[in-house]
Subunit: 350 residues, 4 copies
């Protein structure tokens, strides 16, 4: 049960509601929705009777909500949530283009590719320093050294940095270097990590679990949002199905569904969804035509020799050609390709 | 094993190859590829040694092909296959827009919706007279009477008719009225039916089985193509996955994959893929952005009272609005919305 | 809407209900349930108001049923349906063991393997004469000649014959030779075929579609049952999932579910479900432990040289060893391995 | 590339191999396999040439292994791994029965159910103190207080405790109370957690990710094993498929596959796999018939009022009835139901 207090509810009214919930053996979860206190009753899985709360002073709304998520729903935020990012914006009419290598491999590679993707129109740089790998024997990323290379690339180009954080303990470290914290597909239900990035108040790019439903995904967003951190971007990266021709199946349906039910920006990751570079452009155009707010793409100067995921990486010139098509496509769906960051060398954080 | 004879191979050379295959206990399957005889050796599942055939007179190519399909592959038809249809063309730079009700309900309804979709830009009329239904107790379609209504609508508007045929015995009947034979998702591997529509030499719209791989789908196309009927359109209509928010998951990846490996036109069916009308426009735009050659859409004047699938049907004005957006989108991917059929009342067949 | 008339309803009462349904623009579907007439109202997909029928004379029950299937449900047949088959019984406490080659290859092979499986404990012989194959270039079965070999094997051993029929037109031909008509996984929703086998009144082994839900499967059974043919066996043969290590994923859950909701016998097909002979025994034991009424297994004297599916075929001695374990397992779940057919050379049909 | 040094390899030979790998720009991962040093070369994803290592002194074997996992494979441990647990054994001929409530709710409930399941034949007690929940508003478990209740139940009954740990930071805390650390399905690829439980050297019950392949699962086991912690039990708990009638689809095929390729014990979790208590017994019997080494089952004295997962919980008497059937079934597959722990109040840890 979720109780929304009215804007004019007094602190005493709020605490009386809380006390009553606790007296019935439930715990409470507090969050804030546009200034209104939102009280979640957390109990033994047994539903509470909502009627006895509806008439308490200061209570605006009691819901055994039709959706299990709340803050992630347009019911509570009818308008698009727009997230500022280093002078650009994510969401609303803006198309955000996040590009860069799968793994950070060296300082030079990182700065070079950052310049290349920026010139082509990227508004943020992606790159992995901590890499989740199925095998303990595979390259696991450069770690903090990789983060430093990313920061150097930001210094050089002004592009904000999107990079993955894999464990809650590492959130403070990654926050020293990153502008957006990426939660990978394997960690979509790593709740300790979701709490940690929620508390960080940093923008978060939340990838969909490879076999998570749309509802489960929004519930994971809710974990972050419930810390008052509204800067969550949802990232569709393909789901696991019986089809093996492509690496995953990009769930294009999910894009209009999410735009319909949630105010959060939606970013598409065609690189992981198809797994083969020759199909990335088509699926990128499709994602934007379906209403996505941006793309995150793997771009590498030399895909054949990439440390990971070379098979699905675009070359910089392929990325530039795609951006040209996106400039033509964007107006059809009421979007514009965000202007690239102009200030160089400043490294201003969003 | 598949042997392609050279264009200049003599009938005697062909029959000697056939004789040798038969002498080894295999049967043969003959088809034609741009004038070259193609001989498939059909045997007990055991591979034949290809070397002893490669040097026979008249043999151009022997392949234990990397793909199990052959005629459906771009290896054999590098260029797009373009299918003429009542004065329009399917494939190449053309966007084909097939629209109409799920089920034919009456003569008036059919003619009325045909006029409406034609005016909005449709180039063909869809409508079901024989309906595959999970339950024996559900409405199974109007049968031949429904076909007559479709023919009347063609008479009135000039739009060619796309309608489903569910059994091989009914192919001759449906051919009396239809311009394109639709094979439904449940029948993608109904081989008797595939042989029958192959022999008919009518254009075929082959829907993907709801859990068929891309390779299995092309193998089903191969059944039709192997009768020399090259007029096959592949129709992506969503696959079955764990996600239940939408009716199916539209496999957007499949579109660039198919365009890459096969010369056959690809038509998208967003109505069945999402199952809810509010998401049909976005997925339609996405499919075309990804490279599809056209759409098949359910359009109904009164979706709330449709005999079937009303939940996913567009109203005519929604369809018209979508076509407007498609006109803007098409040039971005090198396509054009096909001009509507001008001649009225003539009912010329493609 | 489904109306069940009472046992004592007069013909006139029945026809008045039918007339009223028709007067409202609906068609009717008649079937029989333990002597009661069952009237299905088949209409434009729009629900009928059930109240106005409930009070008509002779009406026992009107249901917008919770299940879309009816005759296939235990609501209507609380007791197990037991199907007589050549002196044995399928269902109830009996374990039915159907064994034989994937494809019939020759008269000798068929008779030899029939003797071998009978000796090991099989109660029926399986073998494919018409083979559904993904590729038009693969061996498609021996056709009628194969059916004759199966009949010869029955003549020699007394084992009844289970063989696939792929098209409605071929039902009369296959009925000349077979004791049980098998519907393959690709044809589970081939409604023309379901009607034809329903009308034949022959026992039917209905394989689950490889991506069909349990409910869709029971609806397909309902197509057959609605012809008054109650001799339907449900065959679980694995579903299609993301896991590629095995050919399919055997849905063990489906077995207790089906036994719970339906009175029809359930036969398991571990050979197709796992696709590798080394795992067949374990999954066979599991299926019986879960409550299945029998097994259908591929057994071949020389799997390496089988015309199809050799990779998943047991050798006769492996099958015999499995039957020994089944004899020990059966009492744990209240079953017994059916006694083999004694009468030889008689070929009595069930 | 994975290099196994011979048993007699000198420390100098080992370090020369390591030095050469590093000199080529790769990192190394060291583990131990029955006394032999195993060196994994971890690099930029590019394969190393194995030939130049095969002839170095002290090298026994160089493999670009056919499996990506190594220690988890029977290639390296042909015999079953048997894990001692509080006087009982997991694996080999033993059937391990882990039973208890989904969530720990109180000290009394925990001790009461522990006595009940022990009496019925359980050899370990399960119970969740930290609960992974899709919703931040759901009951998240009692935390450390719950662990204390579990320890009290062990004190009272002697049953070892199996309980979930959700974050790497909590491993030391949970180790203070638990005998077996459970990794939940959502955390199967939480690599920080896998490393932490590997280092703990505690027995681990590793649940399969709900959409993980068998290979990915074994790779996650490898993360734990590579810390020299061989006490890993694999737990099949159902995979996510299109079927919604049951909560998940129990992958029965996975059991013989795992027993074939890996020496690790396999435990089945039918409760989560089917999600409805009426089907738990059948799937439990099936899992053991297929070769599983044990079961983990949700048992609750009052399922209707359980804090979580009541719908799938057995009552103690249902669990006792199941154990009776298991005693009959076990000999058929060469197993025995492990004798219950006799010593009471001692709380000896495994």
């Amino acid at each position: 049960m979720v109780i929304t207090m009215s804007l004019s509810a007094s602190a005493r009214e709020v605490s009386e509601v809380i006390a009553r919930i606790r007296s019935m053996g439930y715990d409470v979860h507090l969050s804030d929705d546009k200034g209104c206190t939102v009280i979640g009753a957390i109990g033994n899985g047994r539903p509470l009777d909502s009627k006895q709360f509806a008439s308490l002073p200061g209570v605006q709304d009691v819901t055994q909500s039709k959706h299990p998520y709340k803050i992630a729903s347009r019911d509570y935020h009818p308008d698009d949530i727009i997230i500022p990012l280093s002078g650009t914006q994510v969401g609303g009419p803006n198309l955000t283009l996040i590009a860069g290598p799968c793994s950070v491999e060296s300082r030079e590679q990182t700065i070079e590719i950052a310049h290349a993707v920026k010139e082509a129109g990227a508004t943020a740089l992606r790159g992995g320093a901590f890499k989740p790998r199925s095998s303990p024997y595979s390259f696991q990323g450069m770690g903090e050294e990789g983060l430093k290379h990313l920061a150097a690339a930001r210094e050089a180009t002004g592009l904000p940095i999107v990079t993955e954080v894999m464990e809650s303990q590492l959130v403070p470290l990654v926050c020293q270097y990153a502008d957006v914290l990426q939660i990978g597909t394997r960690n979509m239900q790593n709740y300790a990590l979701l709490h940690a990035v929620g508390e960080s108040q940093y923008p978060v790019l939340l990838k969909r679990g490879m076999s998570s439903t749309i509802e489960e995904w929004l519930m994971s967003a809710e974990y972050i949002l419930s810390h008052g951190n509204m800067r969550v971007m949802l990232c569709e990266r393909g789901i696991r199905t019986f089809e093996t021709y492509t690496r995953n199946t990009f769930d294009i349906n999910a894009i209009p569904v999410l735009k319909h039910i949630s105010p959060l920006p939606v970013i598409a990751d065609p690189s992981h969804a198809v797994g083969k570079s020759e199909y990335v452009e088509s699926v990128s155009l499709a994602a934007i035509a379906a209403g996505a707010d941006g793309l995150i793409l793997e771009v590498h100067a030399d895909p054949e020799h990439a440390a990971s995921d070379g098979r699905q990486s675009l070359r910089p010139e392929q990325f530039a050609a795609l951006v040209e098509k996106l400039r033509q496509l964007a107006p059809v769906v009421g979007k514009r390709v965000a202007e690239p960051v102009r200030a160089q060398g400043s490294g201003v954080r969003g």
